[in-house]
Every structure is written in structure tokens, then in C-alpha cells.
């Protein structure tokens, strides 16, 4: 995308009927590190790539438990993601308190989407720069939704967002027809395989990824590192080639820009400054 005279305000339409600020917000999601989700009839698995900025720091939390039956994985501005998770937790717990019943995930997702839409129609606000993969159960079974900064939401059998998510999506597209009847463990295996696809050759180990599961009879929880490593070993999901030892952030961002294809020169240039300016 190139800069133009209609992109200053979220309340300005372009002559082609586009809101550029909203589209720029969706770019922020594409720059974040990958998050994937897939579901069967009874379970949903969320996974994400968790790379720390440097060896000295810990990784950012990108998967949040919203309630026993709902969890969310984010990609993009993690600060925005954190704030939206707090909103979701609040809505969930208020509903639980009033009705003594879990909030149906479909309703939470609509509330989230309406909240995001507000930010696309106020001159004093900006859109949220985060994409959310919402996994949850309700009366009609297991659901996976994707909430966009634009205020749209879609339901998916499987989806991936963030940088190099196209590789994961390709993998998921080949396999999704089997997911509905998959067992919980095979679902986790498929999630790990999809995460591996986004690593582009780097070795998959539990220290760089996070996996969470929710299902009928299984409250939402993040799998601990040991369990994930065991599953990686058991299913032999370790990558074949060794990735370059260079800083993962710069190369990741560069490859993401190249992969998107449509990345403008100036935008590619600004993200090329070594460490990304915003905490992604």
C-alpha cells in the first residue's frame, strides 16, 4: 500500500470506498508473530509462535484464557490484545454471575466485533491493531472465530494469522476436512505441524511455541512446555533443516514482507530497522 491523501483519518473514505486506516490496522496483524487455531466437533486447539526479543527477555503472552470454555490467541499489537482480553473476561464473568451459565462464545464474538466497529467510526479513536482467534464452546458445540480490526468476524474450521501464516494456512487447507472427527491428540499434532510451517525451517521446540486446548469436558488451559515437547518428540515434528543463526526478528519480518508480496517499499523499509518499533 502506498501513502495517499485519504489515509490520515479513520473517518475519511477514499473515492474507491476504502477506509485506509482500517486496512493499515489489518497490516499490523500481518506483522505480528503467527497464531493458529483449528477445531474438531468437540475440541479447539490454539497455538502461537513465541519468540523473545532477546535472550535476556521472556516471551510475550499471546494466548489468554477468557473463561473455562473460551480462550483467545492474538497477533498484532499485544497491548491492544491484552485490553480486549480483559474486556472479554469481564463480559464472561458478568454473564456467568447473572445467569449462572457460561456465555455462549458466538455472542461474545459479536460483542467484540461491535466494539471494534466503534473504533472505525469515531474521529477520536483508532482501530485496534490486533487480530483475535477466539476458541470456545456453546450449546451447538466447538467454535473457532477470527475477529478482525475492521469489526468483521468469521467462523473457521481452521485458520492462521500473523507473519508467515500463509504457510500454515496452506498446510491447514490440505488437512482441514479431517479435523471435524479428529481426536484431541491428533488435533494438537496438527496444530504443532502448522506452527512448524510458519517457522520456515527452524527447529520446532516447545520453548518457542505455546499451545492451548479447550473442549467438551476439558476447560481451557495452556499446555505446559514439557507436555508440548513430548508431543513434538512423539510425533516427530522437529524441523529437518537448521535455521540461520541470525536475529530471528529481522529475518522474520523481512521474510514476512517478501511473502506478503504487496508490501510497499517504504513500509518494508520501516520494518527493516532491526527490531520492530512496536512490541509485536
Amino acid at each position: 500500500m502506498f501513502r495517499n491523501q485519504y489515509d490520515t483519518d479513520v473517518t475519511t473514505w477514499s473515492p474507491a470506498g476504502r477506509l485506509f486506516q482500517v486496512e493499515y490496522a489489518m497490516e499490523a496483524v500481518k506483522q505480528g508473530s503467527a497464531a493458529i487455531g483449528l477445531r474438531s466437533k468437540t475440541h479447539i486447539v490454539l497455538g502461537c509462535v513465541n519468540k523473545a526479543n532477546s535472550e535476556l527477555s521472556s516471551h510475550q503472552k499471546k494466548i489468554f484464557k477468557v473463561d473455562d470454555h473460551i480462550g483467545v490467541a492474538i497477533a498484532g499489537l499485544t497491548a491492544d490484545g491484552r485490553v480486549l482480553s480483559r474486556y472479554m473476561r469481564n463480559e464472561s464473568i458478568n454473564y456467568s454471575f447473572t445467569y449462572e451459565s457460561p456465555l455462549p462464545v458466538g455472542r461474545l464474538v459479536v460483542q467484540l466485533a461491535d466494539k471494534a466497529q466503534v473504533c472505525t467510526q469515531r474521529s477520536w479513536k483508532r482501530p485496534y491493531g490486533v487480530g483475535l482467534l477466539v476458541a470456545g464452546l456453546d450449546e451447538s458445540g466447538a467454535h473457532l472465530y477470527y475477529n478482525c480490526p475492521s469489526g468483521n468476524y468469521f467462523e473457521y474450521q481452521a485458520f492462521a494469522i500473523g507473519s508467515r501464516s500463509q504457510a500454515a494456512k496452506t498446510y491447514l487447507e490440505r488437512r482441514f476436512e479431517n479435523f471435524a472427527d479428529s481426536s484431541r491428540d491428533y488435533l494438537v499434532k496438527d496444530a504443532l505441524m502448522a506452527i512448524r510451517e510458519t517457522l520456515q525451517g527452524e527447529t520446532l521446540k516447545s520453548s518457542i511455541c505455546t499451545v492451548a486446548v479447550v473442549g467438551v469436558g476439558e476447560p481451557f488451559h495452556v499446555l505446559d512446555q514439557e507436555t508440548v515437547q513430548q508431543m513434538i518428540d512423539a510425533f516427530e515434528i522437529v524441523g529437518e533443516q537448521e535455521g540461520p543463526a541470525a536475529e530471528p526478528d529481522a529475518s522474520a519480518v523481512l521474510e514476512a514482507a517478501a511473502e506478503q508480496g504487496a508490501a510497499a517499499a517504504d513500509q518494508g523499509g520501516s520494518t527493516d530497522e532491526g527490531v520492530a518499533p512496536m512490541d509485536i
Partner: protein
């Protein structure tokens, strides 16, 4: 513009009197509601009386109403407060339907919502002067609960309000069992309502029985119970009484 002299000093903890009127006592009241779980769902009975103090003033008051697809609400106490509650529930069900997704509020959710409403009003010293019975079936699960004007709520296999607690519950404790047939359930409820008719002076002999199952709810046409007044104790009620 105040027609009623305010007796509260403005700095009282109960808040400004000039723009609020709290329920201090009930005016038009309904008496007991009795309900039980049976094989296919819930059966509920209530008479159609609305008393104005000791006068049996209104004789066609429907004290049981269906709520949404899955629930039935019966109320005793102030009738106008019951109408207010129905108004709140109308709105609740409307918004629930407007989501237009596969989800709907079941009896448990409605019961808990009502508990919140009743308890919050009690905390503001402005109660809805009712005892409510909420029954329903959803996804094969039967649910029967009650909420009082002070927000006390619980579920059970059979519940009653007011005098029903003292006269009907003992009968139900003896004779209720799981998987009652419809006919047995009705017979048991009528037995309870007959005792209430004999002994509760606000009861009238015109009642409705409501049923709710997975398929839906029905409320019967009003009818009356046969009574027998030739019991020897009724013939000479004061016999053996102290001071007679």
C-alpha cells in the same frame, strides 16, 4: 411538585424521598403457588385470586405465565410487581431472541437473572413484593426453583410459596416421587390446592394448572375443586376449643 409530605430527613441513608416511592406494603396480592417435577417436566398450580387486604377482590388474575420457549413463572404477592417482572422478562427474552443464534436462555438462566433482580431491589430497600416460582425444561433437563422478595433462591423437586410452604410441602414430602405420571402429578397438586382452599382464607376456588415439557407449555382453563364441608369438625368447629 410534592403531594405527599416527605417524612425522611434529606440526609438519611435511604436516599432522597421526594423522587422515589418504595414498596412499603403490598396492596393487591396473590396467594400460594405450588409446583413439582414430574416425568415429562414441571407442573405448577395457582388460584386466580387477587386479594385487596382481606377482601377477595379480583377473581380472574393469571398468576402463571410462560417465559420464552423453556420456562414458566408463577408468582404470589403484589400483582403489580409481578407485572413489572413480566415486563423485565419480556425485554430479556426479546434481546435473547434478537441474537438469532442457536442459543437461548433456559430456566436456570432466567431463575438466576430473577434472583439478581430481586436481591438488588432488596438491597435498595425497594423490594418487588413477590415470591416467584420458576420451572422449565431444556435439553431434557428439568429445572424448578424459587426466589423470594429478599433474594433467597434455591432449587428443589417441589416448591411452594407463602401458605403453600406450610400446608402443601409436607404433603409433597410424603407423596412426591421421581417420574410421577401427568395424572398422578395433577392429582397431587389438586390435593395440595384443596387443603389450601380449606385453610388459607385468601384462597379462592378457581385455579389453573400449568404444565411445561420439552415440547412447550400449556396453562389450563380455570376450573374449581370439589369440596366437602360435612366433616364433623367443620359442623361444630368450636367443640373442644378452649374457652367455649
Amino acid at each position: 411538585m410534592q403531594f405527599m409530605a416527605s417524612k425522611q430527613p434529606e440526609n438519611s441513608l435511604l436516599g432522597p424521598e421526594s423522587d422515589s416511592q418504595r414498596t412499603l406494603y403490598p396492596y393487591v396480592t396473590g396467594t400460594s403457588v405450588v409446583a413439582l417435577k414430574y416425568k415429562d417436566g414441571i407442573l405448577m398450580a395457582a388460584d386466580m385470586g387477587g386479594s385487596y387486604g382481606s377482601t377477595l377482590r379480583y377473581k380472574s388474575v393469571e398468576r402463571m405465565k410462560p417465559i420464552g420457549k423453556h420456562s414458566l413463572l408463577g408468582a404470589s404477592g403484589e400483582i403489580s410487581d409481578f407485572q413489572e417482572i413480566l415486563h423485565y422478562l419480556d425485554e430479556l427474552i426479546l434481546y435473547d431472541n434478537m441474537w438469532d443464534d442457536g442459543n437461548s436462555l433456559g430456566p436456570k438462566e432466567v431463575h438466576n437473572y430473577l434472583t439478581r433482580v430481586m436481591y438488588n431491589r432488596r438491597n435498595k430497600f425497594n423490594p418487588l413484593w413477590n415470591s416467584l416460582v420458576l420451572g422449565g425444561v431444556k435439553n431434557g433437563q428439568k429445572y424448578l426453583g424459587t426466589v423470594s422478595m429478599i433474594g433467597v433462591n434455591f432449587e428443589d423437586n417441589h416448591v411452594a410459596t407463602g401458605f403453600g410452604n406450610h400446608l402443601a410441602r409436607p404433603i409433597l414430602r410424603q407423596e412426591w416421587h421421581e417420574n410421577l405420571s401427568f395424572e398422578d402429578g395433577v392429582r397431587l397438586l389438586e390435593k395440595c390446592m384443596r387443603v389450601l382452599l380449606y385453610r388459607d382464607r385468601s384462597a379462592i376456588n378457581k385455579l389453573q394448572i400449568a404444565k411445561i415439557t420439552e415440547e412447550g407449555s400449556t396453562i389450563s382453563q380455570p376450573y374449581s375443586l370439589k369440596t366437602y364441608w360435612e366433616f364433623s369438625a367443620f359442623a361444630n368447629p368450636a367443640q373442644g376449643a378452649v374457652g367455649s
